[in-house]
């Protein structure tokens, strides 16, 4: 690794001042798991590492306007284990659980992961499907960006060199909404997905028409893919057997995967269609299960409705 300066600012003001001092050759580091690998290989050679390890107050996970606000410095592990997230957004807790290994999740942060912008990551498709936005802060103030406008290319985002992700905001879900994230892992459990698909489905009061749907895919392009055309096929339509398969086929048109050791481009494209369909089916099952749990006679002791997902 090429030598570098190492700074440990205590708050955002100091972070911005340090970034300004070193300019574009400074890199922010939080968990560091992605950055240190690249530095070991001399692919990234910052003149200064600005550690966020001493910055307090940016790792909270809380209820906000009915939705969930996750601090940019919250670790993957804290999101996966948060009782708030597991109750309100179990699909998101499950998604964060899918990332790499526990060692990585213990230190890798939500903001750091998004800023790294590897299109094979698990959280982005789920967050996009959930309609998440990110708050990005510089010395001059903050701006809020919808997550599907955040990614520009491989390792490239809309972040300016002096900006830091301070918050990820997942809005309140409508009634009759189910969510699913499926990671297709034909190789090892700790790998990135060959293809991944996230779907958030909302039915209307009759439970027979699709009021809203959001579909996003990972590992099939230079960025996570928000499959808006596939969504348009479903929105406002009655629930019918072939609808999800058709949406899967439509989603294939939005993907542009590369051939690599996880699969050929053609195979990944085919699987994109399959897994979009499966994610939609799983989201629908989630809606039905929630409805069943709600209408079930309440036991004497208060129980949290059992959701499909890994235990920690």
């Amino acid at each position: 690794m090429i030598p570098f300066e190492y700074r440990t600012p205590k708050n955002l003001k100091e972070v911005h001042a340090t970034l300004k001092e070193f300019g574009a050759d400074a890199k922010l580091i939080s968990g560091g798991t992605a950055l240190v690998i690249m530095m070991k290989q001399r692919l990234v050679r910052p003149s200064c590492l600005v550690s966020l390890g001493s910055v307090r107050g940016l790792n909270g996970i809380e209820l906000k306007n009915g939705g969930v606000s996750i601090g940019g410095l919250a670790t993957h592990r804290s999101v996966e284990g948060s009782s708030l997230v597991r109750r309100r957004l179990p699909m998101l807790a499950e998604t964060y659980h899918h990332v790499a290994t526990l060692r990585i999740r213990n230190v890798a942060t939500v903001g750091g992961g998004l800023a790294h912008a590897d299109p094979n990551q698990d959280p982005p498709p789920s967050l996009i499907a959930l309609g998440a936005t990110v708050k990005v802060t510089s010395a001059n103030g903050s701006r809020v960006v919808p997550l599907d406008e955040f990614f520009k290319g491989y390792y490239e985002t809309i972040l300016n060199p002096d900006e830091i992700i301070t918050e990820v905001m997942v809005p309140k879900l409508a009634a009759n909404t189910g969510a699913a994230y499926i990671k297709f892992l034909p190789r090892t459990a700790d790998d990135y997905a060959t293809v991944s698909a996230a779907a958030v489905l909302t039915l209307d009061k009759t439970m027979k028409t699709i009021a809203d749907v959001r579909i996003a895919l990972g590992s099939v392009g230079e960025t996570p893919i928000h499959a808006t055309a596939a969504e348009a096929l479903l929105r406002g339509q009655p629930l019918k057997a072939e609808a999800f398969a058709e949406a899967g086929e439509k989603a294939k048109e939005a993907v542009d995967p590369v051939s690599d050791f996880r699969g050929s481009a053609a195979y990944k494209k085919d699987m994109a269609g399959v897994f979009v369909r499966r994610a939609l089916e799983k989201a629908l099952a989630d809606i039905r299960q929630q409805a069943k749990a709600k209408s079930a006679p309440k036991p004497a002791k208060k129980k949290v409705a059992k959701k499909k997902g890994k235990k920690k």
Partner: protein, 149 residues
């Protein structure tokens, strides 16, 4: 890694050929090329900076005009460059072929075969492919701009 780019240039074949024989002009049409210096009639040295997110490559090396076949309207440039910080090396060959479409219209076909060696090569073939493809597209657009304008 092979790439192929085609463009319709609104210029006759002869002036396009003359343009392509000006190696520094052609090299500077590739985005990221910072300098091109002549060493002899067919050899130049150059520097190219490529960025992919946080990864920056400073490639330095030689460009050789390997083929100049006016009869067949085909030229080839060979390049060999190393990254300054030893993250890897790039060597490749670009063959440019001109096809007359009309009095003021020529089709430029750019076929590139590139090998990426070392860490950058190990690291992300898909990233490199996308980046190289985008760069070559811009290369052809820049040539078009310079001749059409």
């Amino acid at each position: 890694m092979k790439f192929s780019q085609t463009a319709q240039i609104p210029v006759a074949r002869e002036p396009l050929w003359d343009f392509l024989m000006d190696v520094p002009k052609v090299a500077k049409s590739l985005p990221g090329v910072e300098s091109v210096n002549k060493l002899d009639d067919t050899t130049y040295e150059g520097a190219l900076t490529v960025r992919v997110g946080p990864i920056k490559l400073n490639l330095q090396g030689k460009i050789i005009l390997e083929e100049q076949n006016k009869t067949d309207w085909r030229a080839a440039l060979r390049a060999e460059a190393k990254d300054r910080m030893a993250a890897g090396a790039v060597n490749g060959k670009t063959t440019m072929t001109l096809k007359e479409l009309g009095a003021n219209q020529t089709e430029l076909l750019v076929e590139t075969d590139v090998n990426i060696l070392g860490k950058i090569g190990e690291f992300g073939q898909p990233i490199i492919r996308k980046k190289a493809d985008a760069m070559l597209k811009e290369f052809v657009e820049n040539i078009k701009k310079q001749l059409a304008g």
